[in-house]
Symmetry: none
Subunit: 234 residues, 2 copies
């Protein structure tokens, strides 16, 4: 997770400071160098001052339409790809027309897992990839993002989308304890209100599907969260 000079720079533009910060911290955690702007003018200033590899842009800004901002930016020569954030209801079709080039869009509310995945996808397409091979592995438990295949000791296992996301998050943080709050923020939509033990339910699903034999890899840290590790062979 070392933030070296070569980690891609991301400009996050959202008028909701809390959300912008949430996104920024998730990006930093994923190995990017985020910068935050909370309005259009600030965004332009930062954009002109620095080079960014990608811009995450809310289409709803207080002082400026996100579309216009995008247009301003898209005229510069080495075009910076944009990931639009948009409300679910409207504008979806409008966005579709705009996402020409390396662009993409995510509808609010989204999960940070998804957002980071999209950013990675865009950068991969643009060629200035951060690195990751798209595979995660830990003691015989492997996941491949490309094929979406999951294996335990070679045996193929079928997971639903949420199961896949959860396991992927745990696995890419292997040996590190992650809190339930972190998991909820990352795997579920950031504004997900209810928590009627849905995380426990999915942990239960995962244990049944991928962690049914020794050595157990998914461990509960009571009062805190979960961790993937191998107790017998640390």
């Amino acid at each position: 997770m070392a933030l070296n000079k070569n980690s891609p720079r991301v400009l996050v533009v959202d008028d909701e400071p809390g959300l912008a910060d949430l996104i920024a911290s998730a990006l930093k955690f994923a190995g990017f160098q985020p910068e935050v702007a909370t309005n259009g003018t600030g965004a332009i200033k930062k954009y002109l001052a620095d080079k960014f590899d990608i811009i995450i842009l809310d289409v709803m800004l207080p002082d400026m339409n996100g579309f216009d901002l995008a247009k301003k930016i898209s005229t510069s020569a080495p075009r910076t790809p944009i990931l639009f954030l948009t409300a679910k209801d409207s504008t979806e079709d409008k966005i579709r027309g705009l996402t020409v080039g390396g662009d993409d869009y995510v509808t609010k509310p989204f999960s940070l897992e998804e957002l980071v995945a999209r950013v990675n996808a865009i950068l991969r397409r643009a060629g200035n990839d951060a690195g990751g091979s798209g595979r995660v592995e830990f003691h015989g438990l492997e996941m491949d993002e490309e094929t979406r295949e999951v294996r335990r000791d070679g045996k193929l296992i079928d997971l639903t989308t949420t199961e896949f996301r959860l396991l992927h998050y745990l696995l890419s943080n292997a040996k590190k304890v992650v809190t339930r709050a972190q998991i909820m923020d990352y795997v579920w939509n950031y504004d997900f209100g209810g928590d009627s033990g849905i995380l426990e339910t999915y942990i239960s699903y995962l244990r049944k599907k991928v962690d049914f034999k020794e050595p157990k890899l998914i461990h509960t840290v009571r009062g805190f969260g979960y961790v993937i590790k191998n107790k017998e062979n640390p």
Copy 2:
């Protein structure tokens, strides 16, 4: 996807940076080495500096008529084939006259699938083929880009254009899960806005036509996209 030295070089000339980038990324994905120019003078500069195997040229340029640019280029000794991009309405006949030798043209808006297919066809004709045989095959399901023939276990199958494009995209990404968004962007015209389940409809058509027997090759990845693979013999 390894971009080796021998992958054909393509010069993409379009004044809309977003579209030029879109084309470039699609070409890169297909194994070419694209270079982008957004106006006539820039194109000429790049053309003189480097050798290209093919030029993709929008006939509508800000500083120069695409036709004139084509004429300038066509005087050089080993003529570089040109794929013209043109608006649907007019100029069709004009283009016809210009498409000598290995040339061809595509009307806007086009699908990336189609564009890449045309580029491949031209290069094949010109003899400096990428190496791709123009055939894709996976567990008894074969497609030939040149003849547009599709076979399942040897038996010839008739597909419409869209069906062919969709299947070809899935097949050339065999074993990799592709998202619906990726499919929509690549197979349908790049400015296609709506998505009222048209993808599902075509998947349904394909299943009926080419995937009616075991082992099933087209699989749904719920909440994500589709993938072509053989579950029984992975």
